[in-house]
């Protein structure tokens, strides 16, 4: 049982690591800021979730597992908010999304036709 949990944990950790690598590749390869933010937020939501779940299973069910769950909850609260803040700041400073223009924020219409290729 413990052995099986350990191996499932290993698998989940590997999967999480894979997602993290995918996210990193996306940050490097995607065309503009918004798609890059999308890739980066895969890393710290999906990747972190699988990694922490895997670590929790690998350590066996004990007090450390609870701590990992709390860490997970904090990451799920903070990183989507950080991704949102990044995208919001990029939009407010006038970067037009690669796939087209949106009007989401009242009064913050991007007038400059910059392509969002700032890194």
């Amino acid at each position: 049982m413990v052995e099986a949990l350990y191996w499932i944990g290993c698998g989940l950790t590997l999967l999480g690591a894979l997602l993290t690598v995918v996210g990193a590749a996306g940050v490097l390869r995607f065309p503009d800021v918004y798609t890059r933010i999308h890739a980066a937020s895969i890393t710290d939501t999906g990747g972190a979730t699988l990694l922490l779940l895997g670590l929790g299973l690998m350590s066996g069910l004990q007090f450390a597992t609870l701590k990992l769950v709390i860490v997970w909850a904090f990451i799920m609260l903070t990183s989507p908010a950080a991704a949102h803040a990044l995208a919001n700041a990029a939009y407010a400073s006038g970067l037009t999304p690669w796939i087209g223009e949106f009007r989401i924020i009242k009064g913050a219409t991007p007038d400059a036709k910059k392509t969002g290729n700032a890194s």
Partner: protein, 365 residues
């Protein structure tokens, strides 16, 4: 970790990868000309450093590196580049020859000298043989703190830590002397000379909700780190920085005005001084009760200590002494970080107002 993967020398691999990452990051920081990128890379450098220190089992140092290096100094540096240009000037390669040679010579000397350093964890090395061994053996009986690092930092080496606390206070004062305490920005804005909404986000609903949720938890975590320092990694320095981060987060989301009204700059600098005073006061209390400076065995008058519960097995003087000086450290570190942030942020608000009037984006790319 006892698992099927234990046969691999995972530690060596992780060490190697982290060290290579540190070298690559250092080269990138030296080469990059955009200051914003350099600051973010320095944050990454600190995080990698913290991970490496964790691998080395130096949890207390790793904790400090993560909070101070990756957390608060990144924020302060970001505030600083608002006051200056965001690109460094281009330097011709000829101007780099002499400094480069100096760096190579000094670096070579350091690498040469490092060969004489004892191996990692060598029991015969001077650090582990004399005083270090003594600390490990004596802490249980002398002080009773479960975390030997706290015992060394707070009691055996209490005088050094007083010096560190004073240095932090003095550094905060130095920044304030150069940049001001941030009060000028506050009074300017109250007089209506500055646009009110320089940094306050009217539309940032998500951020405001998250900040309202997180700030109390961050403060709670700071207290946990503070009082858990006896048992595990943590203590006044880390807790102070975490406490300051809560205030800085408030300023970033709700605007500097709101924060300066909640935690007034005058209060912040008074608390910074109070922390050093508490620390030194604990030391002087020991002298008054017949001991030497910062010798917590004399913290309580002899009659009082005997009446405390279980006085035979608990070293209450040491216990409360460490707790009191850690409280002093917490006050000074937190308030100094807040003061430094106010200094930079107050100036940044001014700079944005001067450069752009109605341009809310500032001059930051």
């Amino acid at each position: 970790m006892s698992g099927p993967l234990a046969m691999l020398d995972v530690g060596a691999i992780i060490n190697g990868v982290l060290l290579v990452m540190l070298v690559v990051l250092m080269c990138a920081i030296a080469r990059v000309r955009n200051l914003l990128t350099a600051i973010l890379l320095m944050g990454v450098y600190s995080l990698v450093m913290a991970v490496w220190l964790t691998v080395m089992d130096a949890a207390d140092v790793a904790f400090t590196e993560a909070v101070v290096g990756a957390g608060v100094s990144t924020v302060v540096l970001l505030g600083a580049i608002l006051l200056t240009r965001s690109e460094t000037a281009a330097i011709s390669w000829k101007a780099m020859i002499a400094p480069g040679l100096a760096v190579l010579v000094v670096g070579g000397l350091l690498v040469f000298a490092a060969q004489d350093l004892p191996d990692f964890g060598d029991p015969a090395s001077p650090a582990n043989a004399y005083v270090g061994k003594l600390y490990l053996e004596m802490t249980g009986g002398d002080i009773g703190a479960a975390n030997v690092v706290t015992a060394v930092l707070g009691s055996y080496r209490g005088f050094d830590t007083l010096g560190e606390t004073t240095v932090i206070f003095a550094a905060g004062l130095g920044v304030a002397l150069m940049l001001g305490f941030g009060e000028r920005a506050m009074s300017d804005r109250e007089r209506g000379r500055m646009p009110v909404n320089v940094s306050a986000g009217e539309d940032h609903v998500v951020l405001r909700v998250m900040a309202k949720l997180l700030i109390p938890l961050i403060v709670l975590y700071a207290f946990y780190v503070q009082f858990h320092g006896d048992l595990g990694p943590g203590g006044g320095f880390q807790a102070g920085v975490i406490m300051a981060v809560a205030v800085i987060l408030h300023a970033l989301v709700f605007g500097l005005d709101a924060t300066m009204h909640a935690v007034r700059p005058g209060v912040a600098r008074a608390i910074a001084a109070l922390g050093v005073l508490v620390y030194a006061g604990v030391g002087i209390a020991n002298i008054v009760h017949g001991g030497t400076f910062l010798n917590y065995d004399y913290l309580f008058p002899p009659g009082v200590e005997a009446r405390l519960p279980d006085a035979a097995h608990h070293n209450w003087g040491q216990h409360f002494g460490i707790m009191a000086i850690e409280a002093g450290v917490l006050l000074t570190v937190a308030a100094t970080m807040i003061t430094v942030f106010y200094g930079f942020a107050g100036r940044s608000a001014e700079a944005v107002a001067v450069v752009g009037g109605d341009d809310t984006h500032g001059q930051n790319p």
